[in-house]
């Protein structure tokens, strides 16, 4: 790591030299007047250091002669991400979108242009006025021709943090002024659990504070990471991460207490703790949990009093567990047959879970699989049988791996942010599905393919709308959506695709109109530090002037609103700094009411640029302690007020793929599955050196690529069988797609599984051709695109089987990191 880091820093310097050249060329080229004028007006610092923030943490940016030249972590960050240098490169890399661009065929023929040539990088540069006129013309045409259901604005993705330049809210703010639109619900991270958990626990679980690390360090005796790699994934946060989980992880390691990692891969977390590695076949976790539960029952190791006082439905689940209802007792031996684990290990896990104060910390990969609703539901049943929910350091947690869940909460105030302007809509129209309709986000391709078709979702049935246009901001669906080839074809149903971004992602390359947005570092904003801890409020000060012709999301949408005759409704007469001051003042008012010291806005902005808050009561938070203390006064949000092992509400829905209690069912395909064609499971973990697909277009790639491609971990035995050596370019393929990747031969992954981390940029050798070979390694070329079940309709990004072979053909060049022709 340290070696590659040094390499990276050197690469950074050469990039800077390149950039200076590029700007110099631009200055004498056709953009010179606007660039110079913009620079003069903005009066950004020429030399110095600016504190700002990002999804990777707060950092200081060093500026020399108006250029950003170095990045160092904020000194308050206990565990800075090694990805910080990639952020700086995202501003200047060849993948930066410089100018407004329109696809050549679209510029000529408009919405009648052949959609099949999308993705071929055939763009023409236009002026901002031309681009925005065209966008507005299309918005109006689609609204007039097809009504509000014609526009899909369910734009999703990891937009940059910042309470003002929240591009997705700003886009919907504009759309709400335009008329109606089709929206989306849910997300790609927790699609299944965020729907099933409210039935089971009465709340989302996945985005909620965990029993805090100091309590875990003091009380937990056995820490189990079940499909979670917190050392890797806590690098990022939805706001500016505080990295508060890392001191907790470190303290737990130093305590010397036992850690078990249940995962097909020996993760960084497993290595960090020197943990016991348990590797069941992927997607068989429910069977393993049932085997553990059966052992607890058979050996009378379960907590009957807890089940009676705090849960309902164990009596209905038990006949299934014992096999009374289906003739199959869910014994450890039965679970061993499905999962490939030793039956004695499963029994031993049960005994150790029961004997110790055990925290079952699960990641989200488990539920991002076909039938994913069952996984965390069964984990809750297991934790209920153990009876430690609500005790310090016991129970379960679904967010220890995300944004430093368990980082103790501070007593500070909360910043408001820009809204989607819903209140500006007359009446309560938005109450009926944001104007026109809402679809479960991950069914977007199904919707495109099947307008008018009925779909089930969480007890309701509705029809897919017929959408004709989309406007995507702050996201990269050509990375996060499954079954890329199906998607490429379905995307052709759109007459018009607008993408606003700062990177030439595959999504931007498959657009008709591309608008260049500023990065967070070219504008002013404000944000909280610490998703769960809310530890500080940070001034996200502008580091440099906008690069090339990039404009702020706020300004772009304000200009569109102006063209729609709604300028004032959009801006409310306020400019960037007015909004930021207003958000800060709202927090200041709360602080004053709570007697918390906080400087006035000007002092905050002009001096330190950060205000930190004390952690007091937050240090001792135990999740569900209140429910455990008095389940009648602090009931859960379920029908019974208790944990629902059996859900009558789900029973009423009558879904064949989501019964009323956790159940083992065969997923559509899996390693060793009865009808599965391919021999290897593809593990698609969250990246270590990216945020999903973000920073893939930067020099930080040098840290991990193998033969210039996304790495593919393969077990030594599987590699030997196929004649694959470390460093070879391999082709990973199934009936849905094929990708190239660089082989990493290792015993750190179980036999029968390969790992290609999600988020590698899609780089088709023949763009637009179904089944095209992907030259870089986008794992979602291989995954299935189906709902987890009729209940949640979440995505199945961890359901994929494939085969791997050494690639011996002519190697296609990786092109997706180059600036598109003419751009």
């Amino acid at each position: 790591m340290s070696t590659s880091h040094r390499q990276h820093l050197r690469a950074g310097y050469s990039r800077r030299a390149f950039l200076e050249g590029a700007v110099a060329a631009g200055a004498f080229g056709l953009i010179a007047p606007s660039l110079l004028a913009r620079g003069a007006a903005a009066a950004t610092m020429k030399d110095g250091e600016v504190l700002t923030g990002s999804h990777w943490g707060a950092f200081k940016a060093k500026v020399e002669d108006g250029k950003w030249v170095a990045v160092t972590p904020w000194e308050g960050d206990p565990h800075p991400s090694h990805q910080l240098p990639g952020i700086m490169d995202s501003v200047y890399s060849p993948t930066r979108i410089r100018y407004p661009m329109v696809r050549k065929a679209f510029l000529k023929d408009g919405p009648k242009a052949d959609p099949a040539t999308r993705g071929t990088d055939d763009f023409v540069r236009v002026t901002w006025d031309q681009a925005l006129d065209l966008v507005v013309k299309e918005l109006k045409r689609v609204e007039e021709t097809y009504g509000p259901a014609g526009t899909f604005a369910g734009s999703y993705g990891w937009k940059s943090p910042g309470k003002l330049h929240n591009c997705q809210n700003l886009m919907r703010r504009m759309m709400n002024l335009k008329g109606g639109f089709v929206n989306s619900s849910g997300d790609y991270s927790t699609g299944a659990s965020q729907i099933v958990m409210p039935h089971v626990m009465g709340t989302l679980e996945v985005y909620e504070q965990q029993t805090v690390w100091p309590v875990v360090v003091d009380n937990t005796e056995l820490l189990v990471f079940w499909g979670a790699d917190p050392m890797t994934t806590n690098q990022i946060g939805w706001v500016v991460p505080d990295h508060g989980a890392y001191p907790g992880l470190k303290a737990f390691k130093e305590s010397g207490k036992k850690v078990i990692c249940i995962d097909p891969v020996r993760t960084d977390t497993c290595d960090y703790f020197g943990a016991e590695w348990v590797a069941p076949k992927p997607q068989t976790d429910v069977a393993v949990m049932l085997g553990v539960a059966h052992t607890l029952y058979a050996e009378k190791l379960y907590d009957e009093a807890f089940l009676n006082d705090y849960t309902v439905g164990f009596d209905k689940f038990l006949p299934y567990l014992t096999g009374q209802t289906d003739g199959t007792p869910k014994t450890a031996e039965w679970a061993a047959g499905i999962s490939g684990l030793d039956a004695n290990l499963i029994k031993d896990l049960a005994r150790r879970f029961a004997k110790n104060r055990t925290m079952l910390a699960s990641g989200w990969s488990l539920q991002r699989q076909h039938l994913g609703e069952q996984r965390h539901w069964m984990l809750v049943v297991l934790a209920s049988m153990l009876g430690q929910i609500g005790l310090p350091g016991g129970g379960f947690g679904l967010s220890y791996h995300y944004a430093s869940g368990g980082s103790p909460g501070a007593n500070g105030p909360v910043l408001p942010g820009i809204t989607d302007g819903g209140k500006a809509v007359e009446g309560a129209a938005w109450l009926t599905e944001s104007g026109a309709a809402t679809i479960p986000l991950a069914r977007v391709v199904d919707m495109l393919e099947n307008p008018g078709k009925d779909f089930d979702f969480n007890g309701t049935r509705a029809k897919y709308p017929e959408v004709k246009m989309t406007y995507w901001v702050g996201g990269n669906p050509f990375a996060h959506h499954q079954d890329r080839n199906r998607m490429v074809k379905a995307w052709q149903k759109f007459e018009t695709v607008v993408v606003q971004d700062f990177q030439w992602t595959a999504t931007a390359r498959f657009a008709d109109i591309v608008l260049p947005a500023t990065t967070s570092y070219e504008r002013n904003d404000i944000e909280q530090v610490g998703d769960y801890s809310l530890r500080a409020i940070l001034a996200m000060k502008k580091v440099i002037d906008p690069v090339f012709e990039a404009r702020n999301d706020f300004d772009i949408f304000a200009d569109i609103a102006k063209r729609l005759g709604k300028a004032d409704a959009f801006t409310e007469g306020k400019a960037e700094m007015d909004w930021i001051r207003e958000f800060y003042d709202a927090a200041l008012k709360q602080a004053q009411a709570k007697n918390i010291e906080m400087p006035d806005f000007d002092t905050f902005w002009n001096e330190k640029g950060i205000v930190e808050f004390d952690v007091t009561a937050g240090n001792s938070f135990v999740r569900y302690a209140d429910f455990r203390a008095d389940p009648l006064l602090e009931p859960l949000g379920t029908p019974s007020g208790k944990i629902e092992i059996y859900s009558k509400n789900i029973e009423k829905m009558g879904y064949d793929d989501c019964p009323a209690h956790p159940t083992w069912m065969e997923p559509v395909e899996r390693l060793g599955g009865p009808t599965t064609k391919y021999p290897l499971h593809v593990v698609t973990s969250h990246p270590k050196d990216r945020l999903h697909s973000q920073l893939c277009g930067t020099k930080i790639r040098d840290l991990y690529t193998v033969a210039g491609r996304e790495p593919c971990l393969i077990n030594t035995q599987d590699a030997a069988k196929r004649g694959i050596k470390d460093g070879d370019v391999v082709r990973v393929f199934n009936d849905r797609g094929q990708i190239l990747a660089g082989a990493v031969v290792t015993d750190g992954i179980m036999p029968g599984a390969v790992r290609v981390r999600e988020g590698g940029w899609y780089d088709p050798a023949d763009p637009g051709k179904p089944g095209a070979l992907d030259a870089f390694g986008d794992a979602n070329c291989l995954t299935v695109d189906m709902g987890t079940s009729k209940l949640a309709q979440g995505n199945c990004g961890h359901t994929a089987v494939a085969d791997v072979e050494k690639f011996t053909g002519d190697l296609p060049k990786v092109k997706v990191f180059d600036t598109p022709t003419n751009a």
Partner: protein, 207 residues
């Protein structure tokens, strides 16, 4: 609203209504969560608390206080917490442990969804008259404004009827504090959402 009137009518017929049957019943809605007192002259005679947006019948006014009648449902064995509907945890009032003796039981039923036994009860107490409004609409308007401005900046706007009344309790418990609003305003947003939830929006019983 209809059910509330019906309940009052029934109560009157059953003879449990404290007000004279020929006097028009004055209705009020709590504009804030306020203490409930046994004795209007003794601020320490606290019985519990009425929650924001709870409907009451105003029986008598004395100075800044009003004697009110509150009705609600409680789960069998949990008589301190009164809810608007049986099985739906939309809070109307909470009583202190030793104050539940003031409850009059009106009727009981077994909730078909959970098999739990629920009781409809009523009580009278004194509360702050300055925090009683004659209509609930301004409260709901405020709630809608707060929801649309404070619950959309971190995540996608949630649609009230995508969740049940009880699920909203769990969601607001976590998300409420993240609005930065005072507790009572969080409670108001919660009630607004609960009466527009998947399992309540078709009921005629909205407070």
């Amino acid at each position: 609203m209809f059910r509330w009137l019906l309940v009052l009518l029934l109560s009157a017929l059953l003879g449990s209504a404290p007000a004279r049957a020929d006097a028009p019943m004055e209705r009020g809605f709590a504009t804030a969560s306020r203490p409930l007192l046994a004795d209007p002259a003794d601020a320490k005679s606290r019985l519990g608390q009425v929650f924001v947006a709870t409907p009451v019948a105003v029986l008598e006014r004395r100075g800044g206080l009003a004697r009110v009648r509150v009705e609600g449902w409680h789960q069998d064995g949990a008589d301190r917490l009164l809810y608007a509907l049986q099985g739906k945890r939309i809070r109307r009032a909470i009583l202190k442990k030793d104050s539940t003796g003031i409850l009059t039981r009106l009727d009981s039923l077994t909730d078909p969804a959970t098999g739990q036994l629920w009781h409809r009860v009523a009580f009278e107490a004194w509360t702050d008259a300055r925090h009683l409004a004659p209509a609930a609409d301004p409260l709901w308007e405020e709630a809608e404004m707060l929801f649309s401005t404070r619950c959309t900046s971190c995540h996608e706007r949630r649609i009230p009827h995508k969740y049940t009344a009880n699920q909203w309790v769990g969601l607001l418990k976590v998300m409420g504090p993240r609005t930065g609003l005072p507790k009572d305003k969080q409670q108001l947003i919660l009630k607004f959402l609960q009466f527009r939830a998947k399992d309540t929006r078709d009921l005629p019983a909205g407070d």
